[in-house]
């Protein structure tokens, strides 16, 4: 078999994969098709082999149903015997899905006004149906995450719990403190209460003396105006730097809340700290738009749009960025450069969708 396997692998290594030009054609085809709504057949519903767990909401008392991604050596009285052991569906439409290996989730209670789950190992994603009359909570050791309707992920990692909010908002209670995280927010929360030493170290690095007994510190990721308590800050392992994705998510959140300055700050951090990330072009573009439209910084906006063109030359994004650069240059008073860039636009994109606007800005 091994020689045959080598030959097969060698042959399949020579399959003609799509190149960049093909990808762009497919994207164009996709956008053309999705824009002509109504012509497209509905996407087939995703079929899954989820076993329905029929739990009466009026059930009183607690009972446990275990889900695990491990193979159980003995038949379980619960879903381990089913074909799909990784998804729990509740009658209200909420779904809990185990992720990765060795994850374990238990259903503690289901009542009309509360649903309680417990994540004892690994990681899970929760898609919670909105219901203002029902509290949905997941316990991970000493940390409890409560939601009314949202989608989030929890990971039980060593001595901490990682919470990532995909949509909506969640409230995280940890050692007497409560933090609210919004979409795009995430945080690390200790399973054990922080020591006095950890608290005093965090207080020292915060700078100004606390204004309240809670000694709150304003940190990215927390809801604006609702600072993250020191206990949670002390829990952030080694002040882990935010990833590019997290920075972009925070920038999106700030834009949605009307805080252009804060959003711009996050985009700048992406550009500075993750210059090789594939989203840098988009971050520079969004920064430019904020600088031009909201922050009154047209010269800086022009530089941001210029950077997009250097990063993503030849792409549709670069096309848009050139048009925006011309507008920004015109607004900043740099007419000569605006006209020069407008000529470049006309040469590069003779039938470009922004041609009229470019000519107008260059003539102002």
């Amino acid at each position: 078999m091994s020689q045959q396997a080598d030959e097969l692998r060698d042959a399949t290594d020579h399959i003609n994969d799509w190149n960049d030009a093909r990808i762009e054609r497919e994207l164009h085809r996709f956008k053309t098709n999705t824009l002509s709504l109504g012509d497209q057949p509905k996407a087939r519903p995703l079929r899954s082999k989820v076993a329905w767990l029929l739990v009466p909401l009026a059930t009183a008392g607690a009972f446990s149903v275990y889900l695990t991604t491990q193979h159980s050596e003995q038949p379980s009285r619960t879903l381990a015997a089913q074909v799909d052991q990784r998804v729990l569906k509740l009658p209200d439409g909420s779904v809990a899905s185990l992720m990765g290996k060795n994850s374990k989730l238990s259903l503690v209670s289901v009542e009309a006004e509360t649903v309680r789950l417990r994540l004892t190992k690994g990681k899970a994603r929760f898609s919670v149906a909105p219901n203002p009359k029902r509290t949905f909570s997941v316990e991970v050791g000493a940390v409890t995450v409560s939601v009314l309707g949202t989608e989030f992920e929890l990971e039980h990692a060593a001595e901490q719990v990682h919470v990532v909010v995909l949509s909506g908002r969640v409230s995280v209670a940890s050692h007497g403190n409560t933090v609210v995280l919004a979409k795009g927010g995430s945080g690390w929360f200790p399973l054990k209460a922080p020591t006095e030493e950890q608290l005093s170290m965090a207080e020292g690095s915060a700078g100004a003396p606390p204004e309240t007994d809670a000694a709150e510190v304003d940190l990215p990721g927390a809801e604006p105006g609702k600072a993250e308590p020191l206990a949670a800050r002390a829990a952030t392992p080694n002040n882990r730097p935010l990833t590019a994705g997290e920075l972009i998510a925070r920038a999106d959140q700030a834009r949605g809340e009307g805080d252009a300055a804060r959003a711009a700050k996050y985009y700048k951090r992406v550009l500075k700290n993750y210059p090789g990330d594939s989203r840098v072009g988009m971050a520079a573009f969004m920064l430019g738009r904020l600088q031009l439209a909201s922050l009154g910084q047209p010269a800086a906006a022009a530089r941001s749009f210029r950077r997009v063109q250097k990063l993503r030359g030849g792409s549709p994004l670069a096309h848009d960025a050139l048009a925006r650069e011309i507008e920004a240059l015109s607004r900043s008073g740099n007419k000569a450069l605006a006209r020069e860039r407008a000529k470049a636009y006309e040469l590069r994109y003779p039938g470009g969708r922004w041609l009229e606007a470019v000519k107008r800005h260059a003539a102002e």
């Binding site: 045959q4 030959e7 042959a11 908002r169 609210v180 994705g245």
Partner: protein, 187 residues
């Protein structure tokens, strides 16, 4: 531990200019997603389906579902996993329809040699043609499991996750396919 029963604040309203910025951003963000993951999906699809025109439709279908979901999967690992599972599910359905077409003689035989890149040797082309003809004769689930394992190099455990079956079932399918391939293509 006391559960927090604090009522969550409603989301801040978004102004019209911000809404338009958000929609433009969302469109551009989706374009980025497409560019980022289409190569991965097409790579997967070409090897499972063996026909470029079908792969094109597959990629379009997967992204259509993602687009309608509002592409909420912002976590990269989750995105990739979801895309792979969805693509395999759809590809499996396509292969089933193709087999039905064979039964009723409405499906045309494919020239699998066209799968090969320009620099492929005649031997490569011949092997691809023969391999995919053999794969066409296998039960779809066996074919998909074997392709994931031996063409795409996934572990048996990963195959079971992607095919949404148990590990034992995945191994059984891979083995069954391997027996046929060894017999039909072995020297």
């Amino acid at each position: 531990m006391v559960l927090s029963s604090r009522k969550l604040r409603p989301a801040n309203p978004v102004s019209a200019p911000e809404a338009s910025m958000t929609s433009v951003h969302a469109e551009q963000e989706f374009d980025e997603l497409f560019r980022q993951y289409a190569p991965f999906l097409s790579h997967l699809g070409l090897r499972i389906l063996g026909r470029d025109d079908e792969v094109s439709d597959l990629v379009q279908d997967v992204f259509l579902v993602l687009h309608r979901r509002g592409h909420q999967l912002t976590h990269q690992a989750a995105m990739r996993s979801w895309l792979a599972t969805t693509a395999i599910r759809m590809a499996t359905a396509r292969l089933r329809r193709r087999r039905l077409g064979h039964v009723f003689s409405v499906d045309e035989p494919a020239a699998y040699q066209e799968l090969a890149a320009a620099d492929a040797s005649p031997e490569h082309r011949a092997v691809l043609q023969e391999l995919y003809q053999v794969l066409d004769s296998l039960p779809v689930k066996h074919r998909v499991a074997w392709t994931l394992r031996y063409v795409l190099g996934e572990s048996a455990q990963r195959v079971s996750e992607l095919c949404e079956c148990s590990l034992a079932t995945a191994k059984r399918r891979i083995e069954a396919a391997q027996k046929v391939i060894t017999k039909r293509m072995g020297k």
